[in-house]
């Protein structure tokens, strides 16, 4: 059964890709959970990470796994700058203001990147062989991306659970005023969470490049913004862990439906999976706005 083999290998691939999707959404959920700000420009930060991976590899031959460290550092610096310049003033403003500001920031980053890097599609290939699993050959690069996503998510988890500052962040999520009363400097927690959220997003952009051999482009983010919102909503929007698990679910749905839609003659399955993402987004919001996993 060629079809079943194809479906299974696509689902396997979906789970691997899903781990990266999950990681790419954690930053979005972290920022929403702590600051109640929706980062509508999410995809632009993934694009920044993708370009970091690309340039480090092309210019210095540095493999993407090493670029991860640079990416989180750059991302946190960008995040802190945006927080200080814009977001700080909008934490208590009406939603309209912060939504539009984040939207504008995303566009600004894309347009700025276009001035530096141009509008062409670029890519690189990091060949380190592969391993045969089930019916398909999985490249090591994708397995490494899978493993790093899980490790990074686990590190963030431990940091949240065990360190004092991680606990402070959770306290702010729980109750802003209560945390202030307990002597937590809420504005510092905001700055840290925003910068960490952006840092994680940029970092995930590095891993995304391992799945898109020639898909690095300044406007690549739009696709990931949409996916990240579907995933974040599936995971309950305010919970980074919910987002991480929901990433797997989304990876499976996406790749499974791609195989199934490919059976319909006369359509272009890739486009329809993207249509499907927005339908899933709507349906989840309709049926259970608090997320399928119901938050933490």
């Amino acid at each position: 059964m060629a079809f079943v083999e194809q479906l299974i290998s696509n689902l396997l691939y979906g789970a691997i890709l899903g781990s990266v999707y999950g990681l790419a959404t954690m930053g979005l959920s972290l920022i929403f959970g702590v600051l109640r700000i929706v980062n509508v420009g999410h995809g632009a930060f993934i694009m920044v990470g993708a370009f970091i991976a690309y340039w480090m590899f092309i210019l210095y031959g540095i493999p993407p796994l090493i670029s991860l460290f640079l990416a989180i550092a750059v991302g946190m610096a960008i995040g802190l700058a945006i927080y200080m310049l814009v977001v700080k003033r909008l934490v208590d403003a009406p939603e309209l203001a912060s939504l539009l500001a984040m939207f504008a920031i995303g566009i600004f980053i894309e347009e700025f990147a276009k001035q530096i890097w141009g509008a062409d599609y670029v890519g690189y290939s990091w060949e380190i062989g592969g391993v045969s699993m089930l019916f398909t050959e999985v490249p090591f690069t994708k397995l490494l991306a899978f493993a790093s996503s899980i490790v990074i998510a686990a590190v963030v988890y431990v940091w949240f659970r065990k360190t004092k500052i991680g606990k402070a962040v959770r306290a702010v999520v729980e109750d802003r005023e209560g945390a202030t009363t307990c002597g937590i400097d809420v504005s510092r927690i905001y700055a840290l969470s925003f910068s960490l959220g952006i840092g994680l997003t940029v970092l995930s952009g590095v891993l995304v490049t391992l799945f898109t051999p020639v898909g690095i482009n300044v406007y690549m983010g739009g696709e990931y913004t949409l996916k990240a919102f579907v995933i974040a909503v599936l995971g309950g929007l305010a919970s980074p862990w919910g987002a991480f698990y929901a990433g797997f679910i989304f990876g499976l749905i996406e790749n499974g439906s791609y195989t199934l839609l490919g059976l319909i003659p006369g359509v272009e399955p890739f486009g329809l999976t993207r249509f499907l993402s927005s339908v899933v987004l709507m349906l989840v919001l309709l049926v259970k706005p608090t997320g399928l996993l119901g938050g933490e």
């Binding site: 509508v40 203001a97 500001a101 504008a104 600004f108 249509f275 927005s278 339908v279 709507m282």
Partner: protein, 327 residues
């Protein structure tokens, strides 16, 4: 107290613009660009400005409107010119109505940020439905110029894509303004402003917030569909999914509304004027960099002038004899 006098200011502005466009050589094109952006802002303002909800899928409504007109003119040419055009307007309205009922019916059950998130997928969703499902020509779009020339002659086609399209757009733009004024003076408008300020309080006061939001959303979307049908399909005589679902129009519309002043009648007019002229001359001076300049502009407006130009002027005019003319 009902006050329709700001409409005088509005119509005066249109009269001056049309006079400048017709009277001065080479000004018609920039004036039509201004009117396009005013219309786009005016239609979005009816929803975003009055309710405070952000519709990130706005351009999709212009897109389906454009497709409605293109489908009628391209596929039902045999009906004759007038019936096909009428069908085009009906289809544009109908498609915008259906999309807004479905999207609004689902997304308006949600509050604030959740609504905005729900609308993020709308534009991409419809675009990829057309591309992926190869509907209405898929990625090759609908090209009307050949069809129209063959069916009605070159003269009629030129008339359609110049005079008729421009006049249609001006009518839609003014209509959006009149509807805005009507809403501002009606029970609906008071209800919308109440729910924008505090949705729970409005609900407690007996306002059917779901229904009010839905009405504003549908009106805003249908007007957007008509703009797409006139300013894009009729004027350009082609429709491509990549063009009509381009997200930058959503950004531009939001910038115009915020710049001019959300929830005011004249806000989109002032915003559209500033924006379109800025864009027209920026495109000449710095090609391809409009969005790079606009995005920081939007951030600055949000941070420093959340009321917009007209919001500020209306405050300044309070107590003077101009009070009645600014809103």
């Amino acid at each position: 107290m009902r006050n329709y006098t700001p409409l005088v200011t509005l119509l005066l502005i249109y009269a001056v613009m049309i006079a400048i466009g017709q009277g001065i050589q080479g000004m018609w094109q920039p004036i039509m660009l201004v009117i396009f952006y005013i219309a786009v802002g005016q239609a979005l303002n009816i929803f975003l400005g009055m309710t405070g909800y952000v519709n990130f899928g706005y351009v999709a409504l212009l897109g389906v409107g454009a497709y409605g007109m293109a489908v009628a003119l391209g596929y039902y040419t045999d009906l004759g010119l007038i019936p096909a055009l009428t069908l085009g307007f009906i289809l544009a309205i109908l498609l915008a109505f259906i999309v807004s009922m479905v999207v609004g019916g689902i997304a308006l059950r949600l509050r604030g940020a959740y609504f905005a998130i729900a609308t993020i997928g709308v534009n991409e969703g419809i675009k990829y439905l057309i591309l992926g499902g190869k509907i209405w020509g898929g990625s090759s779009g609908i090209v009307l110029s050949g069809i129209l020339r063959k069916a009605y002659g070159a003269e009629t086609m030129r008339f359609l894509s110049t005079v008729f399209a421009d006049a249609g757009l001006i009518v839609v733009a003014i209509l959006s303004g009149v509807i805005t004024m009507y809403i501002l003076n009606s029970r609906l408008g008071y209800g919308l402003i109440a729910l924008r300020e505090d949705e729970d309080a409005a609900k407690v006061m007996g306002i059917n917030v779901r229904r009010y939001k839905q009405i504003a959303f549908v009106i805003s979307c249908i007007l957007a569909g008509l703009i797409g049908a006139t300013a894009w399909t009729l004027k350009l005589t082609y429709v491509f999914p990549q063009d009509v679902f381009a997200i930058n129009y959503t950004v531009e519309a939001i910038v115009i509304v915020m710049l001019g002043g959300a929830g005011t009648l004249l806000g989109p007019v002032v915003g559209g004027l500033i924006y379109a002229l800025l864009k027209y001359y920026l495109t000449i001076a710095f090609p391809g960099m409009q969005l790079l300049i606009l995005a920081p502009l939007l951030i600055i407006v949000i941070l420093l002038f959340p009321e917009g130009v007209v919001g500020y002027l209306a405050k300044a005019a309070r107590g003077t004899r101009f009070e009645k003319f600014v809103r």
